[in-house]
Protein backbone atom coordinates (compact mmCIF):
# COMPACT_ATOMS: atom_id res chain seq x y z
CA UNK A 1 0.00 0.00 0.00
CA UNK A 2 1.15 3.51 -0.79
CA UNK A 3 -0.19 6.07 1.64
CA UNK A 4 -0.54 9.57 0.23
CA UNK A 5 -3.11 10.97 2.65
CA UNK A 6 -0.71 12.43 5.16
CA UNK A 7 -2.46 15.78 5.30
CA UNK A 8 -5.36 13.92 6.91
CA UNK A 9 -3.12 12.03 9.31
CA UNK A 10 0.43 10.86 8.92
CA UNK A 11 1.01 7.14 8.54
CA UNK A 12 3.01 5.24 9.50
CA UNK A 13 4.21 6.71 12.77
CA UNK A 14 7.82 6.57 13.93
CA UNK A 15 8.60 3.48 16.00
CA UNK A 16 9.49 5.69 18.95
CA UNK A 17 5.86 6.87 18.94
CA UNK A 18 4.50 3.34 18.94
CA UNK A 19 6.90 2.43 21.73
CA UNK A 20 5.97 5.47 23.81
CA UNK A 21 2.25 4.67 23.58
CA UNK A 22 2.87 1.05 24.44
CA UNK A 23 5.14 1.91 27.37
CA UNK A 24 2.57 4.33 28.73
CA UNK A 25 -0.25 1.81 28.53
CA UNK A 26 1.78 -0.96 30.12
CA UNK A 27 3.85 0.95 32.68
CA UNK A 28 2.31 4.17 33.97
CA UNK A 29 -1.15 4.89 32.63
CA UNK A 30 -2.51 6.49 35.79
CA UNK A 31 -4.74 9.53 35.85
CA UNK A 32 -2.46 12.59 35.69
CA UNK A 33 -2.93 15.36 38.24
CA UNK A 34 -5.63 13.60 40.16
CA UNK A 35 -3.78 11.90 43.02
CA UNK A 36 -0.52 11.85 44.94
CA UNK A 37 0.33 8.21 44.32
CA UNK A 38 3.26 7.12 42.22
CA UNK A 39 1.34 6.25 39.07
CA UNK A 40 -0.60 9.49 38.98
CA UNK A 41 2.57 11.47 39.63
CA UNK A 42 4.44 9.71 36.83
CA UNK A 43 1.52 10.26 34.49
CA UNK A 44 1.45 13.96 35.38
CA UNK A 45 5.16 14.24 34.74
CA UNK A 46 4.70 12.68 31.30
CA UNK A 47 1.97 15.19 30.50
CA UNK A 48 4.11 18.07 31.68
CA UNK A 49 7.06 16.82 29.66
CA UNK A 50 4.91 16.94 26.52
CA UNK A 51 3.75 20.45 27.40
CA UNK A 52 7.41 21.44 27.60
CA UNK A 53 8.17 19.88 24.22
CA UNK A 54 5.27 21.74 22.59
CA UNK A 55 6.16 25.05 24.21
CA UNK A 56 9.78 24.69 23.13
CA UNK A 57 8.79 23.80 19.57
CA UNK A 58 6.90 27.08 19.27
CA UNK A 59 9.35 29.29 21.19
CA UNK A 60 7.36 29.65 24.40
CA UNK A 61 8.67 29.42 27.95
CA UNK A 62 5.16 28.76 29.26
CA UNK A 63 4.46 25.00 29.24
CA UNK A 64 1.46 25.71 31.45
CA UNK A 65 -0.11 27.62 28.54
CA UNK A 66 -0.33 24.38 26.54
CA UNK A 67 -3.91 23.13 26.77
CA UNK A 68 -4.68 19.68 25.46
CA UNK A 69 -7.77 18.82 23.45
CA UNK A 70 -8.88 15.80 21.47
CA UNK A 71 -7.69 17.15 18.11
CA UNK A 72 -7.14 20.40 16.22
CA UNK A 73 -10.87 20.95 15.85
CA UNK A 74 -11.23 20.72 19.61
CA UNK A 75 -8.31 23.10 20.04
CA UNK A 76 -9.79 25.68 17.67
CA UNK A 77 -13.22 25.43 19.29
CA UNK A 78 -11.56 25.88 22.65
CA UNK A 79 -9.65 28.99 21.58
CA UNK A 80 -12.55 30.58 19.69
CA UNK A 81 -15.12 29.88 22.38
CA UNK A 82 -12.65 31.05 24.99
CA UNK A 83 -12.04 34.43 23.40
CA UNK A 84 -15.25 35.38 21.60
CA UNK A 85 -18.36 36.95 23.09
CA UNK A 86 -21.69 38.04 21.63
CA UNK A 87 -21.30 41.20 19.57
CA UNK A 88 -17.77 40.33 18.41
CA UNK A 89 -16.85 40.33 14.73
CA UNK A 90 -14.26 37.82 13.48
CA UNK A 91 -12.14 37.81 10.33
CA UNK A 92 -11.36 34.37 8.92
CA UNK A 93 -9.28 33.63 5.86
CA UNK A 94 -10.33 32.15 2.55
CA UNK A 95 -8.45 28.92 3.25
CA UNK A 96 -9.95 28.10 6.64
CA UNK A 97 -10.92 24.54 7.38
CA UNK A 98 -14.42 23.77 8.62
CA UNK A 99 -12.78 23.45 12.05
CA UNK A 100 -12.82 27.27 12.01
CA UNK A 101 -15.73 28.09 9.72
CA UNK A 102 -18.27 25.92 11.51
CA UNK A 103 -17.54 27.01 15.10
CA UNK A 104 -17.62 30.66 14.05
CA UNK A 105 -20.79 30.11 12.04
CA UNK A 106 -22.37 28.31 14.99
CA UNK A 107 -21.70 31.38 17.14
CA UNK A 108 -23.95 33.50 14.92
CA UNK A 109 -26.67 32.49 17.36
CA UNK A 110 -24.67 34.08 20.18
CA UNK A 111 -24.33 37.35 18.28
CA UNK A 112 -20.86 36.69 16.85
CA UNK A 113 -20.46 37.70 13.19
CA UNK A 114 -17.70 36.91 10.72
CA UNK A 115 -16.24 37.95 7.38
CA UNK A 116 -13.89 36.09 5.07
CA UNK A 117 -10.69 37.82 3.94
CA UNK A 118 -8.82 36.70 0.80
CA UNK A 119 -6.07 34.14 1.29
CA UNK A 120 -2.89 34.69 -0.65
CA UNK A 121 0.81 34.02 -0.27
CA UNK A 122 1.30 37.74 -0.93
CA UNK A 123 1.42 39.53 2.46
CA UNK A 124 0.35 42.87 0.99
CA UNK A 125 -2.75 41.34 -0.56
CA UNK A 126 -3.69 39.68 2.71
CA UNK A 127 -3.26 42.85 4.75
CA UNK A 128 -5.24 44.88 2.22
CA UNK A 129 -8.02 42.31 2.50
CA UNK A 130 -7.98 42.54 6.28
CA UNK A 131 -8.00 46.33 6.29
CA UNK A 132 -10.93 46.41 3.89
CA UNK A 133 -13.01 44.18 6.20
CA UNK A 134 -11.96 45.65 9.53
CA UNK A 135 -14.93 46.96 11.54
CA UNK A 136 -15.25 48.78 14.86
CA UNK A 137 -16.57 45.58 16.42
CA UNK A 138 -13.83 43.33 14.98
CA UNK A 139 -12.13 41.53 17.86
CA UNK A 140 -10.30 38.57 16.41
CA UNK A 141 -8.50 37.31 13.30
CA UNK A 142 -8.06 33.65 12.46
CA UNK A 143 -5.39 32.57 10.01
CA UNK A 144 -4.86 29.07 8.68
CA UNK A 145 -1.08 29.01 8.34
CA UNK A 146 -0.84 26.40 5.58
CA UNK A 147 -3.81 25.21 3.57
CA UNK A 148 -4.81 21.56 3.82
CA UNK A 149 -5.46 21.37 0.06
CA UNK A 150 -2.78 23.46 -1.62
CA UNK A 151 0.46 25.33 -1.11
CA UNK A 152 -0.97 28.64 0.05
CA UNK A 153 0.86 29.67 3.23
CA UNK A 154 -0.41 32.78 4.97
CA UNK A 155 2.07 35.37 6.31
CA UNK A 156 1.52 34.93 10.04
CA UNK A 157 4.01 37.57 11.16
CA UNK A 158 2.38 40.25 9.03
CA UNK A 159 -1.10 39.24 10.18
CA UNK A 160 0.12 39.28 13.78
CA UNK A 161 1.49 42.80 13.32
CA UNK A 162 -1.83 43.89 11.83
CA UNK A 163 -3.62 42.46 14.86
CA UNK A 164 -1.29 44.19 17.28
CA UNK A 165 -1.76 47.50 15.47
CA UNK A 166 -5.54 47.22 15.69
CA UNK A 167 -5.64 45.55 19.15
CA UNK A 168 -7.19 42.38 17.82
CA UNK A 169 -6.75 38.87 19.13
CA UNK A 170 -5.03 36.49 16.76
CA UNK A 171 -5.57 32.74 16.47
CA UNK A 172 -3.32 30.75 14.14
CA UNK A 173 -4.36 27.33 12.89
CA UNK A 174 -1.06 25.56 12.30
CA UNK A 175 -2.55 22.12 11.68
CA UNK A 176 -0.71 21.57 8.40
CA UNK A 177 2.46 23.50 9.17
CA UNK A 178 3.38 22.29 12.67
CA UNK A 179 6.44 20.13 12.29
CA UNK A 180 7.26 21.53 8.85
CA UNK A 181 7.50 25.30 9.07
CA UNK A 182 9.26 26.90 12.05
CA UNK A 183 6.77 28.92 14.11
CA UNK A 184 7.56 31.16 17.07
CA UNK A 185 4.45 32.28 18.92
CA UNK A 186 6.13 35.44 20.18
CA UNK A 187 7.46 36.43 16.78
CA UNK A 188 4.10 36.02 15.05
CA UNK A 189 2.29 37.75 17.91
CA UNK A 190 -0.42 35.11 18.22
CA UNK A 191 -2.74 34.84 21.19
CA UNK A 192 -3.17 31.17 20.44
CA UNK A 193 -1.87 28.58 18.04
CA UNK A 194 -3.83 25.40 17.50
CA UNK A 195 -2.67 22.07 16.11
CA UNK A 196 -3.37 18.36 16.06
CA UNK A 197 -0.81 15.91 17.35
CA UNK A 198 -1.32 13.35 14.60
CA UNK A 199 -0.22 15.16 11.42
CA UNK A 200 3.22 16.73 10.97
CA UNK A 201 4.13 16.02 14.59
CA UNK A 202 3.60 12.26 14.01
CA UNK A 203 1.74 11.60 17.24
CA UNK A 204 -1.21 9.22 17.50
CA UNK A 205 -4.76 10.43 16.86
CA UNK A 206 -6.58 11.51 20.01
CA UNK A 207 -4.74 14.62 21.05
CA UNK A 208 -4.51 18.20 19.86
CA UNK A 209 -3.52 21.36 21.66
CA UNK A 210 -3.70 25.10 21.98
CA UNK A 211 -0.62 27.03 22.98
CA UNK A 212 -1.78 30.34 24.41
CA UNK A 213 0.40 33.43 24.37
CA UNK A 214 2.05 35.04 27.37
CA UNK A 215 -0.86 37.35 28.06
CA UNK A 216 -2.81 34.38 29.44
CA UNK A 217 -0.15 33.48 31.97
CA UNK A 218 -1.21 33.05 35.60
CA UNK A 219 -4.60 34.33 36.65
CA UNK A 220 -5.06 35.92 33.23
CA UNK A 221 -6.23 32.48 32.20
CA UNK A 222 -9.62 33.42 33.59
CA UNK A 223 -10.11 35.77 30.63
CA UNK A 224 -10.78 32.59 28.67
CA UNK A 225 -14.23 31.08 28.82
CA UNK A 226 -14.09 27.28 29.26
CA UNK A 227 -15.71 25.28 26.50
CA UNK A 228 -16.10 22.28 28.79
CA UNK A 229 -16.52 22.28 32.52
CA UNK A 230 -15.83 19.38 34.82
CA UNK A 231 -13.18 17.71 36.91
CA UNK A 232 -9.76 19.33 36.90
CA UNK A 233 -8.11 17.62 39.86
CA UNK A 234 -7.89 20.85 41.81
CA UNK A 235 -10.18 23.21 43.73
CA UNK A 236 -12.73 20.43 43.67
CA UNK A 237 -15.07 22.05 46.18
CA UNK A 238 -15.55 25.05 43.93
CA UNK A 239 -18.30 24.99 41.35
CA UNK A 240 -16.30 27.01 38.83
CA UNK A 241 -13.30 25.94 36.80
CA UNK A 242 -9.96 27.11 38.24
CA UNK A 243 -8.63 30.42 36.88
CA UNK A 244 -5.21 29.10 35.86
CA UNK A 245 -4.17 27.45 32.62
CA UNK A 246 -4.11 24.70 31.63
CA UNK A 247 -6.50 23.28 34.21
CA UNK A 248 -9.08 25.99 33.49
CA UNK A 249 -9.69 24.59 30.02
CA UNK A 250 -8.93 20.90 30.56
CA UNK A 251 -12.02 19.27 32.03
CA UNK A 252 -11.87 15.52 32.42
CA UNK A 253 -9.20 12.89 32.07
CA UNK A 254 -6.47 13.59 29.53
CA UNK A 255 -5.60 11.09 26.74
CA UNK A 256 -2.31 10.12 28.33
CA UNK A 257 -1.15 7.45 25.81
CA UNK A 258 -1.71 9.87 22.93
CA UNK A 259 0.12 12.61 24.80
CA UNK A 260 3.06 10.30 25.47
CA UNK A 261 3.15 9.37 21.80
CA UNK A 262 2.93 13.00 20.75
CA UNK A 263 5.98 13.92 22.78
CA UNK A 264 7.92 11.11 21.12
CA UNK A 265 6.74 12.36 17.73
CA UNK A 266 7.79 15.92 18.45
CA UNK A 267 11.23 14.78 19.52
CA UNK A 268 11.55 12.66 16.36
CA UNK A 269 10.62 15.62 14.17
CA UNK A 270 12.95 17.93 16.07
CA UNK A 271 15.81 15.46 15.68
CA UNK A 272 15.47 15.48 11.89
CA UNK A 273 14.52 19.13 11.61
CA UNK A 274 11.20 20.52 10.37
CA UNK A 275 12.82 22.40 7.50
CA UNK A 276 14.52 19.25 6.25
CA UNK A 277 11.26 17.35 6.36
CA UNK A 278 9.46 20.14 4.53
CA UNK A 279 12.12 20.21 1.84
CA UNK A 280 11.94 16.45 1.34
CA UNK A 281 8.15 16.34 1.17
CA UNK A 282 8.11 19.43 -1.05
CA UNK A 283 10.46 17.71 -3.47
CA UNK A 284 8.18 14.67 -3.72
CA UNK A 285 5.18 16.94 -4.21
CA UNK A 286 6.96 18.91 -6.93
CA UNK A 287 7.90 15.74 -8.81
CA UNK A 288 4.31 14.55 -8.53
CA UNK A 289 2.94 17.85 -9.76
CA UNK A 290 5.35 17.93 -12.69
CA UNK A 291 4.49 14.37 -13.66
CA UNK A 292 0.75 14.77 -13.25
CA UNK A 293 0.82 17.99 -15.21
CA UNK A 294 2.41 16.12 -18.12
CA UNK A 295 -0.48 13.64 -18.31
CA UNK A 296 -3.06 14.80 -20.87
CA UNK A 297 -6.40 15.36 -19.16
CA UNK A 298 -4.95 15.89 -15.69
CA UNK A 299 -4.90 19.35 -14.17
CA UNK A 300 -2.78 20.30 -11.17
CA UNK A 301 -4.12 23.23 -9.15
CA UNK A 302 -1.63 25.91 -8.07
CA UNK A 303 1.34 23.81 -9.25
CA UNK A 304 3.81 26.56 -8.47
CA UNK A 305 3.10 26.32 -4.73
CA UNK A 306 3.25 22.56 -4.15
CA UNK A 307 6.69 22.70 -2.55
CA UNK A 308 5.35 24.89 0.26
CA UNK A 309 3.67 22.12 2.22
CA UNK A 310 3.99 18.88 0.28
CA UNK A 311 0.43 18.78 -1.04
CA UNK A 312 -0.66 18.23 -4.65
CA UNK A 313 -4.25 18.96 -5.68
CA UNK A 314 -5.41 17.64 -9.04
CA UNK A 315 -8.40 16.72 -11.16
CA UNK A 316 -8.89 14.48 -14.19
CA UNK A 317 -11.08 15.61 -17.07
CA UNK A 318 -14.30 13.64 -17.19
CA UNK A 319 -13.65 11.55 -14.06
CA UNK A 320 -15.14 12.79 -10.77
CA UNK A 321 -12.61 13.16 -7.92
CA UNK A 322 -14.09 10.44 -5.72
CA UNK A 323 -13.97 8.08 -8.70
CA UNK A 324 -10.30 8.90 -9.26
CA UNK A 325 -9.63 8.21 -5.58
CA UNK A 326 -11.55 4.93 -5.78
CA UNK A 327 -9.54 3.80 -8.77
CA UNK A 328 -6.28 4.76 -7.11
CA UNK A 329 -7.35 2.84 -4.02
CA UNK A 330 -7.96 -0.13 -6.27
CA UNK A 331 -4.29 0.14 -7.24
CA UNK A 332 -3.16 0.32 -3.63
CA UNK A 333 -2.74 4.09 -3.47
CA UNK A 334 -4.49 6.06 -0.70
CA UNK A 335 -5.46 9.63 -1.54
CA UNK A 336 -8.36 11.82 -0.50
CA UNK A 337 -10.95 13.39 -2.79
CA UNK A 338 -13.77 15.90 -2.43
CA UNK A 339 -13.67 19.17 -0.52
CA UNK A 340 -11.36 18.02 2.29
CA UNK A 341 -13.55 19.74 4.90
CA UNK A 342 -12.34 23.02 3.41
CA UNK A 343 -14.98 24.46 1.06
CA UNK A 344 -13.60 27.97 1.56
CA UNK A 345 -10.18 26.84 0.36
CA UNK A 346 -11.66 25.06 -2.66
CA UNK A 347 -13.54 28.23 -3.53
CA UNK A 348 -10.31 30.22 -3.24
CA UNK A 349 -8.44 27.78 -5.47
CA UNK A 350 -11.35 27.56 -7.89
CA UNK A 351 -11.80 23.81 -8.14
CA UNK A 352 -14.91 22.57 -9.93
CA UNK A 353 -18.04 21.00 -8.44
CA UNK A 354 -17.01 17.87 -6.55
CA UNK A 355 -13.70 19.33 -5.48
CA UNK A 356 -10.45 17.61 -6.37
CA UNK A 357 -8.03 14.83 -5.49
CA UNK A 358 -5.30 15.46 -2.94
CA UNK A 359 -2.00 13.63 -2.63
CA UNK A 360 0.01 14.56 0.45
CA UNK A 361 3.41 13.35 1.56
CA UNK A 362 5.27 12.50 4.73
CA UNK A 363 8.82 11.60 5.69
CA UNK A 364 8.06 7.95 4.92
CA UNK A 365 7.18 8.44 1.26
CA UNK A 366 9.74 7.88 -1.47
CA UNK A 367 10.21 8.65 -5.15
CA UNK A 368 8.90 5.16 -5.89
CA UNK A 369 5.56 6.28 -4.45
CA UNK A 370 5.55 9.23 -6.84
CA UNK A 371 6.31 6.94 -9.77
CA UNK A 372 3.47 4.62 -8.76
CA UNK A 373 1.04 7.53 -8.52
CA UNK A 374 1.99 8.79 -11.96
CA UNK A 375 1.75 5.36 -13.58
CA UNK A 376 -1.63 4.76 -11.95
CA UNK A 377 -2.98 8.10 -13.10
CA UNK A 378 -1.84 7.44 -16.67
CA UNK A 379 -3.82 4.19 -16.60
CA UNK A 380 -6.88 5.79 -15.01
CA UNK A 381 -7.01 8.59 -17.55
CA UNK A 382 -6.63 6.10 -20.40
CA UNK A 383 -9.66 4.18 -19.08
CA UNK A 384 -12.07 7.05 -19.68
Amino acid sequence: MIYLDNAATTFPKPLVVTDAVSECLSDYCGNPGRAGHALSVRAAEAVYSCREAIAALFGSDCPENVVFSGNATGALNLALHGMLRGGDHVLISGIEHNAVLRPVHAMLGEGVTYSVYPASPDPDEVIRGLEKRLRPDTRLVVACHASNICGIVLPLAEIGAFCEKHRLRFVADVSQSAGKIPINIGEIGADAICAPGHKGLYGPPGVGFVLFGDKYRGENGKKLRPLLSGGSGSRSKEAEMPPFLPERLEAGTLPLPAIAGLEAGIRAVAAIGPERLAEYEGELAAKSADGLGDIPGVRVWLPGLVRENGIVLFTADGIPPEEVARRLDGRGICVRAGYHCAPLAHKTVGTPEGGAVRASFSMYNTENDVTALLEAMKEIVSER
Partner: protein, 76 residues
Protein backbone atom coordinates in the same frame (compact mmCIF):
# COMPACT_ATOMS: atom_id res chain seq x y z
CA UNK B 1 14.76 12.78 60.42
CA UNK B 2 14.25 15.94 58.39
CA UNK B 3 11.04 17.88 58.64
CA UNK B 4 9.40 18.49 55.27
CA UNK B 5 7.15 21.32 54.30
CA UNK B 6 4.65 21.78 51.53
CA UNK B 7 4.51 24.96 49.51
CA UNK B 8 1.13 25.23 47.86
CA UNK B 9 0.75 26.06 44.20
CA UNK B 10 -2.41 26.87 42.33
CA UNK B 11 -2.34 23.77 40.14
CA UNK B 12 -0.59 20.48 39.62
CA UNK B 13 0.93 21.84 36.39
CA UNK B 14 2.46 24.79 38.22
CA UNK B 15 3.77 22.40 40.86
CA UNK B 16 5.50 20.42 38.11
CA UNK B 17 6.95 23.59 36.64
CA UNK B 18 8.09 24.63 40.10
CA UNK B 19 9.73 21.27 40.74
CA UNK B 20 11.81 21.63 37.59
CA UNK B 21 12.70 25.21 38.37
CA UNK B 22 13.81 24.38 41.90
CA UNK B 23 15.84 21.49 40.55
CA UNK B 24 17.88 23.88 38.44
CA UNK B 25 18.73 25.71 41.68
CA UNK B 26 19.74 22.53 43.50
CA UNK B 27 16.58 22.21 45.57
CA UNK B 28 14.99 18.78 45.41
CA UNK B 29 11.21 18.89 45.63
CA UNK B 30 8.38 16.51 44.86
CA UNK B 31 4.88 17.32 43.74
CA UNK B 32 2.34 16.77 46.47
CA UNK B 33 -1.38 16.61 47.04
CA UNK B 34 -2.60 18.19 50.24
CA UNK B 35 -5.81 18.59 52.16
CA UNK B 36 -5.31 22.35 52.42
CA UNK B 37 -8.21 24.58 51.40
CA UNK B 38 -10.65 21.77 51.92
CA UNK B 39 -8.82 19.20 49.81
CA UNK B 40 -7.67 18.56 46.25
CA UNK B 41 -4.88 21.09 46.62
CA UNK B 42 -1.48 20.86 44.97
CA UNK B 43 1.99 21.81 45.98
CA UNK B 44 5.64 20.93 46.40
CA UNK B 45 7.10 18.90 49.23
CA UNK B 46 10.63 19.93 50.17
CA UNK B 47 12.93 20.26 53.18
CA UNK B 48 11.62 22.95 55.50
CA UNK B 49 15.00 24.69 55.59
CA UNK B 50 14.67 25.33 51.83
CA UNK B 51 11.22 26.89 51.96
CA UNK B 52 12.30 30.53 52.08
CA UNK B 53 14.73 30.22 49.18
CA UNK B 54 12.29 28.07 47.23
CA UNK B 55 9.47 30.59 47.61
CA UNK B 56 11.72 33.33 46.26
CA UNK B 57 12.80 31.23 43.31
CA UNK B 58 9.24 30.24 42.46
CA UNK B 59 7.93 33.79 42.65
CA UNK B 60 10.78 35.08 40.51
CA UNK B 61 9.94 32.34 38.03
CA UNK B 62 6.35 33.55 37.77
CA UNK B 63 4.87 30.71 39.76
CA UNK B 64 2.32 31.98 42.29
CA UNK B 65 2.79 30.53 45.76
CA UNK B 66 -0.02 30.31 48.28
CA UNK B 67 0.65 31.21 51.87
CA UNK B 68 -0.70 28.26 53.83
CA UNK B 69 2.37 26.10 54.08
CA UNK B 70 2.19 22.84 55.95
CA UNK B 71 4.89 21.14 57.98
CA UNK B 72 5.14 17.37 58.03
CA UNK B 73 7.35 16.17 60.87
CA UNK B 74 9.78 13.39 60.23
CA UNK B 75 8.72 12.57 56.70
CA UNK B 76 10.92 12.27 53.64
Amino acid sequence: MTNTCIIRTETNTLALKGKKLLGTHGIRAETARTDAAGGCANGLRLPCESVGEARDILLRGGIPVLTDEKTERGKR
